[in-house]
């Protein structure tokens, strides 16, 4: 290949890979429409490459001007096209047509203003706009002799009904979950937050998929630097397609190597609204029912929505038990391994004897035994997720029997190991955020190995490493362990326990909100309700001729 040829070849490939080439190269970037119907149609046909769902419908506007509708068959709302666009245009006896005074140049204005019924009408005079709109599911009306096309109609994509979120179940709280359609999701948010301060910025990401991504935040709460940073990071993404919000998460997170998620995801509109109110930013992606919540700190991952709907004393208790479960899922097996293999003298004698008795028939060291059980548990768990629901039940029965009973009687594992593994697994299910539970599941294994090699000393060393890593993590600049670690008292009321609303009247300062007042100063406090309206002693009680504490 000569130099020249190579150069030419490279030029060719570059042309192919450029954005223009993606939608056909039959026109240049800013080329305008010619005023000829046939020419435009030919060009569009070439652009869409003879795909079978590209349809052309020829007709004559008011029976006079030859015209054509072009659209993508399955993307367009057919009924709307028929009723609101085609029918009015085909009328032959409309008043202004009868008078015969319509000039060709006035036609676009007449049609957009007087004829079309749809709400979404615009005109365009470039091929590029035309193609983009058609790909969005709109209908383009091209009239012979006019150099601009009228675009109307709307896309219609079937979507499933709003249903209960599968991943984040709550006892008390909304049953609504996001679905795949971005418009519906935005409506869900808007409906809960009808405020002019809720801003939605839409960007398209993905060279091919051109996925619509909506960044939502509250103008008067969210720190402007944060929303700007998130939009900046999103705009830098250059990828052919965005299939799921998880793609975006991996592009905009701070530390890619950390096992811990630094951006939260949620299926729940109520959770998103609560986070918006705290000053966070929500990222919704078309085609994905999971919203991203950024930035996220560690404490968010073990909080649940119904913590806030239940009364604070009870939800604090529930949250503490969740923390215990989280800790269990991380360190319990490694503690077991290190105590059994290095320091059995730690546990009470009677129990130690029982443990030793249980382990008598097991040929493996405790480390290996626990590792085998943990790995099989992971396999079982993964299998249960992938299987169809009808088979899932059967699998879990088999799993319980095999792992629980048969492994013990086969001398494969000691009963106490089974108990430990079970507690660990249940503990990891109690963590509300799946990605955080996954991180802890992963970190359990190095801890078990460290515990098997160095005993409690090794477990501590491993824990210190993990905690140090968590302390060095930042999510959009916010320390991951805040508010616990930089020591912000305001936020700490909602960390280990869930403080009552009147105790935390301000928004968490870790997000540096613009406006920090959450609960008004006049709100209820614990001392005394303002009026004992229905107190049996005082309700409408008349004593000695004067009314004593009337119920108003």
């Amino acid at each position: 290949m000569s130099m020249w040829q190579r150069f030419k070849y490279r030029k060719e490939t570059r042309k192919l890979s450029s954005a223009k080439a993606l939608i056909g190269s039959s026109f240049s970037e800013n080329q305008r429409l010619p005023a000829k119907l046939e020419e435009t149609l030919a060009c569009m046909k070439e652009t869409f490459g003879g795909t079978d769902d590209f349809k052309t419908r020829r007709f004559e506007v008011f029976g006079r001007y030859p015209a054509a509708l072009i659209y993508l068959e399955h993307l367009t709302n057919q009924r709307e096209m028929k009723e609101d666009i085609l029918r009015p245009l085909l009328q032959k006896n409309a008043a202004h047509v009868e008078s015969g005074s319509v000039d060709r140049s006035e036609l676009p204005e007449l049609i957009t203003n007087d004829i079309l019924f749809g709400g979404n009408v615009s005109t365009g005079n470039k091929y590029r706009t035309l193609v983009d709109r058609i790909l969005d599911g709109q209908v383009a009306i091209i009239i012979d002799g006019l150099d601009r096309a009228i675009i109307s109609g709307s896309g219609k994509v079937e979507h499933r009904a709003i249903s209960q979120p599968e991943t984040e179940q709550v006892i008390r709280g909304s049953r609504e979950g996001f679905i795949e359609n971005l418009g519906v999701n935005l409506a869900l948010l808007r409906n809960r937050l009808p405020s002019v301060d809720l801003l939605v910025k839409t960007i398209q990401i993905g060279r091919k998929t051109r996925t619509k991504v909506a960044v939502c935040y509250l103008r008067d709460v969210c720190n402007p630097a944060l929303s700007k940073e998130i939009i900046d990071r999103l705009q830098k993404i250059d990828i052919d397609g965005v299939i799921d919000s998880g793609y975006l998460e991996q592009f905009i997170e701070d530390n890619h190597l950390s096992p811990f998620p630094q951006i939260q995801n949620s299926e729940r509109p109520d959770k998103c609204v609560a986070n918006l109110l705290e000053g966070r930013v929500i990222i919704l992606v078309d085609g994905c029912p999971f919203a991203l919540i950024a930035p996220a700190v560690f404490s968010q991952f073990y909080q649940s929505v119904d913590d806030y709907s239940e009364r604070f004393l009870l939800s604090s208790f529930v949250r503490l038990s969740r923390l215990v479960a989280l800790l269990f899922s991380l360190i319990f097996p490694s503690l077991y391994v290190s105590v059994i293999s290095f320091n059995p003298e730690l546990i009470p004698t009677e129990f130690a004897v029982a443990v030793a008795g249980g382990r008598a028939g097991v040929p493996f060291p405790a480390l290996l035994e626990v590792l085998i059980m943990e790995v099989s548990m992971e396999v079982l768990r993964e299998a249960t997720i992938r299987l169809p629901q009808q088979v899932g039940g059967a699998l879990s029965i088999v799993g319980v029997l095999v792992i629980g009973q048969a492994a013990v009687s086969a001398g494969f594992a000691s009963p106490i190991t089974v108990v430990v593994i079970a507690l660990t697994t249940i503990g990891s299910f109690a963590t509300p955020a799946y990605d955080m539970a996954l991180a802890l599941r992963l970190l359990r294994f190095p801890l078990i190995i460290l515990g098997g090699i160095f005993g409690l000393y090794g477990v501590m060393v491993g824990l210190i490493l993990i905690v140090n890593h968590m302390l060095s993590l930042r999510s959009f600049g916010i320390p991951f362990m805040s508010p616990l670690v930089p020591g912000q008292w305001q936020g700490m009321k909602d960390t280990m326990v869930r403080g009552p609303f009147w105790l935390s009247p301000k928004r968490p300062e870790l997000l540096h909100p613009r406006n920090s007042v959450r609960v008004g100063t006049e709100s209820q406090s614990i001392e005394q309700p303002p009026h004992n309206t229905l107190d049996p002693v005082s309700v409408g009680n008349r004593r000695w001729e004067d009314s004593d504490g009337d119920s108003t």
Binding site: E345, L456, Y457, V461, V467, N468, L471, M481
Partner: protein, 373 residues
């Protein structure tokens, strides 16, 4: 330097406390008792006072030079070459201190928990853990100290509280045995256990309000000195002075004697030791961090991360110098005493010369403080 950093009052205090409380707690009572018999608590108190004196010298220096670490301002005070000798001595001393901390804890682990593990392995695990963590910036450094603070204080207090059921207050008498020439020597040895607090010279430049350093130092000495005092009192009341002298790590024995009510766990000392890893880690972390940070300051480098693994082999070799446990403690006591020249005498000289030469660089900050009260 690196990104703008802010270390709050609370964080500064936490750094000091968790740096001071380290593996020294395990052997503290025996050092105190050997010097002053039943006067050990009083001796500990005196040691804490000496430490407070040294800290207030450093705080005064820090107040005069709020934007510089000791490596930098000593050059202003003494001139570059003399100051560099002092700085090299500081770096070497802290490298040695890190090595001995790792070694001492390695000895404890090998003796009481992992009896079949070679000493080298435990020492190197600890050093690698520290070196990995030293790659963080100053902010994370203070976060780490703040986070571990409860895990350092709680076990000590728990052990003291649980063990007091066997205490006999008579063992504390006489409180001060007069005419014993070892008082000064003893209290200096105790003060040497507080030497990690020298790290305050590194964190002052990162504090938004260096004027509060003295308060942070005072609070840190009250908390850490208080814990030391409690542990010494508990040991002496339970074992008595003569018995304590026979032990290597009386605090560990203290933990061994105690048990939780209802016999939930048979032995607490192992658990205590496990949680105590955090205390040792924070101390080692501080001294190691200080070593590499000062070294990079001395060499005018922007970043200290390069040294974190570079120094590891040297510190490991230093840690392996002593022959055995007894030799280790001889080393620690000697190095600690000579270290006082660096941590007390040197700053004192610096302060005096700075006052005489009227060197100070806090005008700007003071004006700033007046503008925004």
């Amino acid at each position: 330097m690196e990104t703008p950093r802010e270390i709050t009052f609370l964080q500064a205090t936490a750094v000091l406390i968790s740096t001071i409380i380290g593996v020294g707690v395990l052997s503290l009572p025996v050092i105190a008792v050997k010097a002053a018999d039943s006067g050990a608590p009083l001796l500990t108190f005196l040691g804490a006072m000496i430490a407070l004196l040294s800290l207030s010298i450093l705080a005064a220096l820090g107040k005069r030079f709020p934007r510089k670490s000791i490596i930098h301002y000593s050059e202003d005070i003494l001139g570059s070459w003399i100051a560099r000798i002092g700085s090299v001595a500081i770096v070497l001393f802290f490298a040695l201190l890190s090595a001995l901390t790792a070694r001492e804890f390695g000895e404890v682990v090998v003796t009481s928990v992992l009896r079949n593990t070679p000493l080298e392995v435990t020492v190197i695990v600890m050093l690698v853990l520290t070196a990995v963590s030293c790659r963080n910036d100053m902010n994370t450094f203070s976060y780490i100290h703040l986070f571990y603070l409860p895990f350092i204080l709680a076990p000590g207090l728990l052990i003291v509280a649980l063990s007091l059921q066997n205490a006999d207050m008579i063992n504390l008498l006489p409180i001060a045995r007069v005419a014993n020439g070892e008082w000064l020597y003893g209290s200096l040895t105790i003060a040497a256990l507080f030497q990690g607090s020298f790290i305050v010279t590194m964190i002052i430049p990162s504090m938004p309000r260096p004027a509060k350093t003295l308060q942070a130092c005072l609070l840190a000495i009250i908390v850490s000195g208080g814990l030391y005092l409690l542990i010494v009192i508990a040991t002496v009341t339970i074992f008595g002075a003569e018995e304590t002298k026979l032990l290597i790590w009386p605090t560990l024995e203290l933990a061994r004697m105690t048990s939780l009510p209802a016999n939930v766990l048979e032995r607490l000392d192992i658990l205590f030791l496990a949680v105590w890893v955090t205390a040792v880690f924070t101390t080692l972390f501080s001294t190691y961090y200080f070593t590499i940070h000062s070294l990079s300051n001395l060499l005018r480098l922007r970043d200290h991360k390069m040294f974190s693994f570079f120094l590891l082999p040297f510190i490991f070799v230093l840690a392996m110098l002593p022959q055995n446990v007894l030799d280790t403690y001889r080393f620690i006591l000697t190095i600690g005493l000579y270290g006082l020249i660096i941590t007390i005498a040197y700053p004192a000289v610096l302060l005096i010369i700075a006052i005489l030469r009227k060197k100070r660089e806090d005008q700007l900050d003071r004006e700033h403080a007046q503008e925004s009260p």
